[in-house]
């Protein structure tokens, strides 16, 4: 199963950045990419490496849309950035939107999110991919550390191409602040 997951290629999803809320830093290791992110003032910045595919930097912000900090609620996240493409060298503008809803309190979290990590290759020839994924995310608090895991599945439509399936699993650790 792990071997299958390792063969999956995904878009430049800033997974680490998406896991962090509030103060602190997070490390996310997924089957498709590894990333780190940290809060800087009111925004979150993150860097991710998609194994052999890209290196990307993002800056973004998460906000509570419905509900409160604790209990049931719905969050929204927006992030933009730049990716360097590695297999066929090039540059892409990347942007990610996420809607995440579920339950969270001081001990644990269980959420379901809709993730759209868009990528536009801006060198010649230009290309546009608009992946869409559903992500299930579970996390629990262990002292000052939040430990979590996530699984995502969806599709990657691209202009001029055939939609491709996508799947990813990952785990993350957050230090400081409050993961949500």
């Amino acid at each position: 199963m792990i071997g299958w997951l390792l063969t999956v290629a995904l878009a430049a999803d800033p997974a680490a950045l998406r896991q962090l809320h509030g103060e602190g830093g997070v490390v996310d290791v997924g089957t498709e990419a590894t990333g780190v992110a940290a809060s800087v003032g009111s925004v979150v910045v993150g860097v991710s490496y998609g194994y052999g595919a890209y290196v990307a930097g993002h800056v973004g912000q998460r906000r509570v849309l419905v509900g409160e900090e604790q209990g049931w609620g719905l969050d929204g996240l927006g992030a933009v950035g730049l990716a360097g493409l590695l297999a066929t060298p090039g540059v892409a503008l990347v942007g990610t939107g996420e809607l995440r809803g579920g339950v969270r309190d001081e001990r644990g979290q269980a959420t379901l999110g809709l993730v759209v990590p868009v990528a536009l290759r801006v060198d010649v020839p230009p290309q546009l991919a608009v992946p869409v994924g559903l992500e299930l995310r579970l996390a629990g608090r262990l002292g000052p550390v939040w430990l979590g895991c996530r699984g995502q599945a969806g599709a990657t439509p691209s202009v001029g191409g055939v939609p491709a399936g996508r799947a990813e699993a990952g785990a993350f650790v957050q230090l400081g602040g409050q993961a949500r």
Binding site: W4, V8, A9, L86, R121, A129, G161, V162, A164
Partner: protein, 286 residues
């Protein structure tokens, strides 16, 4: 296996050259064979990993005597790793062809059904390392099992793939194969594939293919004889082969080599041999 450095990656030599080998009657050709893994960018930030086997010298370099090699794009079966077909890629490359095998998400070609076209782009527009001057313009797409259905999608959608070879496979109902008049197709399947049930289905679906098409049933072969390393669970779901695998594969290679020579090298003798259908161990119908 020898390992030769070429560019930034290592090429692995699978077969040493031997001018005494003729490449006739289902036997290996005179070229050595090496393979190497490459990556192609896809869907902007995705990457497709693929392997290429090519006609090689003893040190793994491209053998210039092969000229610019036609491309055989191979799509693996469901849950079967591409290297399970290395026996086939090595054989075909020893006769002067380049065989490329893309990987797919979850080892299901249907997950990324245009990877074959992505890889052909990469090979022909950005050849590198030992393949820098070796890749030709002509190409066919070939697939085993689920890979054959996906290969058919590419054959219909991407006109750079002139021919289609189905190994123990048949196209999806939605593939408009009826419109492919004048584009060659080949369908080979074992008589014991899934106990013979799949053989009958492949034969019935084959009737949809316009000329020039060629269908053959390999006596005694089952579904997983096409791939190395089948699991006990795979074999339990398959028919029981009635002849040694080495013999059935030799029968397959006689036909496959002839078909490739006919359509990728425009070999008149090979076309005549296909027309005559004198291939031992391969019948016209179930």
């Amino acid at each position: 296996m020898a390992v030769a450095q070429s560019g930034c990656q290592a090429a692995v030599v699978d077969l040493m050259p031997d001018p005494a080998r003729t490449g006739l009657d289902g036997t290996a050709g005179p070229y050595g064979v090496a393979h190497q893994a490459f990556r192609a960018q896809a869907r902007v930030t995705d990457v497709v990993r693929y392997e290429v086997s090519w006609p090689a010298t003893a040190d793994g370099a491209y053998d210039d005597r092969a000229g610019r090699c036609p491309v055989v794009m191979f799509v693996h079966g469901g849950f079967v790793p591409p290297d399970a077909y290395r026996w086939l890629a090595t054989h075909v490359a020893s006769r002067g062809y380049c065989v490329a095998s893309p990987e797919h998400a979850l080892q299901l070609a249907i997950m990324e059904s245009d990877n074959a076209s992505v890889v052909l782009d990469d090979l022909q527009e950005r050849p590198r390392g030992p393949l820098e001057n070796g890749v030709g313009d002509d190409a066919v797409v070939m697939g085993h099992s689920l890979g054959g259905a996906v290969a058919t999608f590419r054959w219909v959608a991407d006109e750079r793939f002139d021919g289609l070879a189905l190994l123990a496979s048949w196209p999806a109902d939605s593939s408009d194969v009826e419109s492919m008049t004048g584009r060659p197709s080949l369908s080979l399947i074992g008589s014991e594939d899934k106990g013979g049930e799949a053989t009958q289905t492949a034969y019935e679906v084959y009737q949809r293919f316009p000329s020039p098409s060629w269908f053959g049933v390999v006596d005694g072969m089952n579904h997983y004889d096409w791939a190395d390393g089948a699991s006990d669970a795979d074999l339990a779901s398959d028919g029981v082969p009635t002849r040694p695998q080495a013999d059935t594969r030799r029968d397959v290679l006689r036909v496959l080599d002839t078909w490739l020579d006919a359509w990728l090298r425009d070999d008149a003798e090979a076309k005549a041999a296909l027309e005559a259908r004198g291939f031992p161990g391969v019948a016209e119908a179930p």
